[in-house]
Amino acid sequence: MLQAVLEGLRRAGVLNAWRIVEQQVESRELFLVGTRADMRRAKEVSRLQATVYRDFSRDGRACRGSATARLHPTQGRRELERALRAAAGAAGHVLNPAYPLVSPGGPAPQVPEAPGVPDLGGALDSLGAVLLETGGVQKGEKARLNSAELFLERGETRVRNSEGVDVRFGFFQGSGELFVEAEAPGGPVELFQPLAFARVRADELRVELDRQLELCERRARAVPTPALGSPPVLLTGVAVRELLSYFTYHSSAEAAYGRVARFRPGEGVQGRQVDGDPLTLSLEPYLEHSPSSVPWDVDGWPLAPTALIEQGRLLRWWGPLRWCHYQGCPPTGHLPNVRVGPGSRGLAELRRGGCLEVAVFSDFQCDALTGDFAGELRLGTWQDPGGGRQPVTGGSLSGRLPELAGGLELSAEILRLDGYEGPAGVRLASAAVSGG
């Protein structure tokens, strides 16, 4: 019905173009406290968003205005039409330079279909059993599962527009959280790990839980971080993905159009002098482990692997059709995953000479715009130049990536996270560390 209403409004001249993004979603959710289920939930929803476009000229300049409207399956024809007319009215006041919508055609994306999970409840039980079984057993007699949440979501996304694009694809996304705890001399300590997975693998969940239990035991043995000044730092885990997101932000056509991008195609992205590993980075529609993987973006653009940075040099801008049109460069679509080339040296080698290795932050953040990064240390290891290792906790770490980019050293080992495949560790020449 929505498409018919939009076409009717288009024929009546109320709007000039439209796009619909529709998702049918089904989920099962499990909430655990210790080894007992606190709650179970089910969800069946339709998500519907329409974007309407108005074309006009202002001061001799061709404009395309747009406005979005979230719609609901309980809306009747009259209510839908009212919402879309209001959005079209709003779009008439949005003075953006004209840009095209995606047209049908082009090569079909080479992305495997999302795994079918016909029995969400059964899959949830299989994962829940891992937590109930493993969580009750104290790992090393000190660490245990405190609580957990698991969400399994499957469905279909369909993208249509007034140019004739009509693509659909299934998705499966697993997510959740693990909270583990361990006894420590000053009282219990805990660690928190968000989960994101693209397939139901009980064995992988068990490995992750064991890893978290082990890290938590280390936190229980940790001493307050000493005031280290500005030592070399080895970041590991999700902080690596967060840190490197700076490079994709400043390579985007949107940032370039907004005149905030630091990089230009053909130029270096790591400053004038590169003493560390030159960065090689591509954007990918599909990574096997990443639940963010999609074959088409929300405009219906067919996605393909795209080399972005090679040996520290930006090859091209990237981005959806609109921003690339503004920048006068070929569009790539909105790609959800980043693949970063590994470095030449292993983590063991990167630790040599002493460094603060950080495994867990409370919430590591790298400001994509400025490159400032900071985080409170939940668990790190201070490796002194003589080779001694001491788990540490507390205090903070901060620095400015633009000043350190030329000296980044990337590990040969690979880490796989939602939206990321690349070095498991990044060594920074120095970062300010306040003691705990």
């Binding site: 747009s66 979005t68 409840g121 300010a432």
Partner: protein
């Protein structure tokens, strides 16, 4: 202007009642929360304008039942028959041991609430709202040659909810709005920006507040280009009301969410009746404790909002609870059971969280500090309820030396500490309490929602990096 109630919720109320009655035939307890929230977000920056539906828009239902052992929930937004909702609830069944909860016994209540604002978004119109924002952007570019971008946002959301159970029929409609201005400046290779937030139970009149803050925001962003790095260490500091709010929220607010008491994840659970701060520390949390974006009449489980004093003169008095944690702990629910949307579970969540005011003057606080900082705007924070660690990222600090502001800025600043040490070090509190809620609050890294936080100017000791 009165905020209109949802015609959709009004028209479907009878069928929702039938659904609850049908569920009650199968289950010892049944309730339904139905939502219809609508809003628009306006964004203006260099070379582009956007009119978007608000991320807080939603229309759907969540049914909750007690099946003899505990609670189950089903979320849906298609017009399902009672039998289809029953099928969805039955589909949640699974193996393993379960927590046992008593059946919730509610006091009967039937009531409708509606708020008022000075100017409804519909009355202001899209054209005028966008024109005011684009005018602000153009004014900003006219006053700074260093400006690389000027990002302005205005968003207004009408929240309309209906809660039905065997004994309750509650309806509410209110409107909140928020805005932000982010001047981005660049000199050579250095980029800096300031984020100034605005929020309230207000309509388009919020834009009036934004008008007056534009030039100071741009000037501050320019100042940050000359900001120095801070030397890590422990300092005497003065927190602005905004940063005091971050402390109230991250340091203590999350730690007294009582669903964490049930999980044994909150250190605060062992401190009820015990000292956690200095005499100058009194903390409030509640939907009716202030008028800000965390205000409502009833929460997403049909419990009326209130004003919970969590810390009184340094002594911890209470936590904040959703319904299930209150049932598990045998305490009265405090009206803090909140959902990101009808699609999500309810948790114990903050509403309006703030330090109460004191009698100390800001000038005296500055004069009392030989070497320290006035911390003025925050970027983000993260909780650690188990270990009472504190992380807050502050955009900048103003240096204080020998009892005077030197005019030097440091940026950014990360503040860390052990919560009882920090609260115990609070030695002065100003009289005027200000709250803001232009951001979002997550539980861990998800379940985002609106709430506000604040306080007066506070003097304390913090580790800065």
């Amino acid at each position: 202007m009165r905020v209109p109630y949802s015609p959709y919720l009004s028209s479907r109320k009878r069928s929702f009642r039938r659904l609850v009655r049908r569920l009650q035939r199968e289950y010892a307890y049944a309730s339904l929360l139905a939502t219809d929230c609508t809003g628009t977000r306006y964004e203006v920056r260099r070379g582009q304008v956007s009119v978007l539906d608000s991320r807080w828009n939603e229309r759907g239902c969540v049914a909750r039942v007690h099946d003899g052992t505990g609670y189950l929930e089903a979320s849906f937004n298609r017009p399902l028959s009672p039998e289809e909702v029953l099928r969805l609830l039955e589909g949640t069944a699974g193996g393993g041991a379960r927590m046992e909860y008593p059946v919730h016994r509610e006091q009967p209540l039937r009531r409708r609430w509606r708020s008022s604002v000075r100017l409804l978004p519909e009355a202001a119109g899209v054209e005028k709202t966008l024109a005011r924002l684009t005018n602000l952007r153009d004014r900003a570019f006219a006053c700074s040659s260093l400006l690389a971008d000027m990002r302005l946002v205005f968003e207004a959301v009408t929240v309309r909810k209906l809660f039905l159970s065997g004994r309750r029929e509650l309806e509410q409609a209110y409107l909140w709005s928020q805005g932000s201005m982010v001047p981005v400046v660049r000199r050579g290779e250095d980029t800096r920006y300031v984020h100034v937030g605005f929020s309230g139970l207000k309509g388009v009149e919020l834009l009036d507040e934004m008008e007056g803050k534009l030039e100071p925001a741009v000037a501050l962003a320019e100042e940050l280009l000359s900001a120095a790095k801070i030397t890590p260490g422990t300092y005497e500091v003065i927190l602005s009301p905004a940063v005091a709010g971050l402390l109230a929220h991250e340091a203590f607010g999350h730690g007294v969410e009582m669903d964490l008491f049930v999980k044994g994840r909150a250190k605060a659970a062992g401190y009820l009746g015990a000292r956690v701060g200095s005499d100058r520390v009194t903390l409030h949390d509640g939907a009716r404790a202030a008028r800000q974006v965390g205000s409502y009449w009833f929460d997403d489980e049909g419990t009326l909002g209130g004003d919970t004093v969590t810390v009184e003169k340094g002594v911890m008095r209470a936590g904040i609870s959703d319904l299930l944690s209150a049932l598990a702990l045998g305490t009265p629910p405090t009206g803090h059971g909140r959902r990101e949307s009808f699609e999500r579970k309810a948790y114990a969540r903050m509403a309006n969280t703030f330090f109460a005011g004191g009698r100390d003057r800001l000038e005296d606080m500055i004069a009392s500090i030989p070497r320290g900082y006035l911390l003025e705007q925050y970027s983000s924070g993260m909780e650690d309820p188990r270990n009472w660690g504190l992380q807050g990222i502050v955009l900048y600090g103003r240096e204080i030396a020998d009892g005077r502001l030197t005019g030097r800025l440091v940026s950014p600043v990360i503040m860390t500490g052990y919560v009882p040490d920090v609260l115990g070090s609070v030695s002065a509190a100003g009289p005027e309490v200000r709250l803001e809620g232009a951001g979002t609050c997550g539980k861990g890294h998800k379940e985002n929602m609106k709430n506000s936080m604040g306080g007066p100017y506070l003097k304390c000791r913090l580790r800065l990096g």
